[in-house]
């Protein structure tokens, strides 16, 4: 199953006809090198972007170069569907790893959503979940301790990756997000992130290899994080 369909179906049921319609609307794939922008702050391209492979992030740069990561984007995610409505993007989307992306032209979105209201509902739901994730990150940064915060981020990445088959309980999977990325996502210093990850490892909650997403005790990690996946709004087994 195409990764975009996997993601959308985890959120909302769509028909075979709707599946074909949105897949036929995709242009690409296009490759984006690690560290390059998929969309630059302030730009107003006439398409939205679908992640096919790799990891990207939405981020905001301050004038002196400090970076806040706003969300991670995985295969199946439409990184900027809201741009169809808002036009100009108010932050950047950057490739954390080499990415393969497809474009969803805005003129096609207009035709698609007119012909298939249920597809419009699925995309709407997807963008509302993005907002829900942003709210969750606000709670994380504002009120959770460093240990809880990183545990929560790890839980979230695991559930989101598992929805598109890129993570599985009991099987370590490749983890491309660096400690620098985690620092910029959590608002913690790099050293603090390193120290906190050491604590999670010493508690036997995550594996020791920094290049792997390996959760050793899901229930305890969730408990420490206070992680409740309801805010991701996935259906069935992913919830």
């Amino acid at each position: 199953m195409h990764v975009l369909i996997q993601k959308l179906k985890a959120l909302h049921e769509i028909s075979n006809e709707e599946e074909s319609a949105i897949l036929n609307a995709l242009e690409g794939p296009y490759e984006v090198e690690r560290g390059e922008d998929i969309a630059a702050d302030g730009s107003a391209p006439k398409h939205s972007t679908v992640m096919l492979a790799g990891v990207a992030c939405r981020y905001k740069l301050l004038a002196d170069g400090r970076r806040q990561i706003l969300a991670f984007e995985y295969p199946g995610d439409v990184t900027d569907i809201y741009r169809y409505v808002l036009k100009r993007i108010d932050h950047s989307i950057g490739a954390v790893t080499k990415c393969s992306v497809a474009h969803l032209p805005h003129k096609t979105i207009a035709a698609l959503t007119e012909e298939f209201p249920n597809l419009a509902y699925a995309l709407w739901r997807d963008s509302l979940v993005d907002a829900s994730v942003a709210q969750s990150w606000l709670v994380n940064a504002g009120r959770r301790s460093a240990l809880e915060r990183l545990a929560h981020l790890i839980c979230e990445q695991f559930v989101r990756l598992s929805v598109v088959g890129l993570a599985k309980h009991g099987e370590p999977s490749r983890f491309y997000i660096t400690q620098t990325d985690l620092a910029d996502a959590s608002g913690l210093s790099l050293v603090h992130v390193n120290k906190t990850l050491q604590q999670l490892k010493e508690k036997g909650l995550i594996g020791r290899n920094p290049n792997l997403l390996e959760i050793l005790d899901w229930e305890r990690l969730k408990a420490i994080a206070g992680f409740d996946p309801t805010y991701l709004h996935f259906k069935g087994t992913h919830a």
Binding site: S189, L190, V191, N194, K195, Q198
Partner: protein, 78 residues
């Protein structure tokens, strides 16, 4: 080292027990520093602000080679 910045040795309860320093400016506490241990890989032996106050909050974005470097940074930012 700037005269107004002084240090006092202290043990800090992070990662078990870390060698640390309280940093003072004109006798007032502004930061709690620790010496990073082997778990920080290539940063081992460098100084890190576990906590800092009075406008020095961004000190934790850096690590420092020695206490002279810490004092210079504090003097420039305080």
């Amino acid at each position: 080292m700037p005269d107004r910045v002084t240090f006092q040795p202290v043990k800090v309860a992070v990662s078990g027990e870390a060698e640390g320093r309280l940093a003072f400016v004109d006798g007032k506490l502004v930061a709690v520093l620790i010496k990073l241990d082997v778990t920080q890989n290539e940063l081992e032996g460098r100084w890190y602000a576990e906590a800092a106050f009075n406008g020095l909050e961004r000190m934790s974005e850096h690590t420092f080679e020695d206490l002279a470097a810490v004092a210079a940074w504090i003097d420039a930012h305080c």
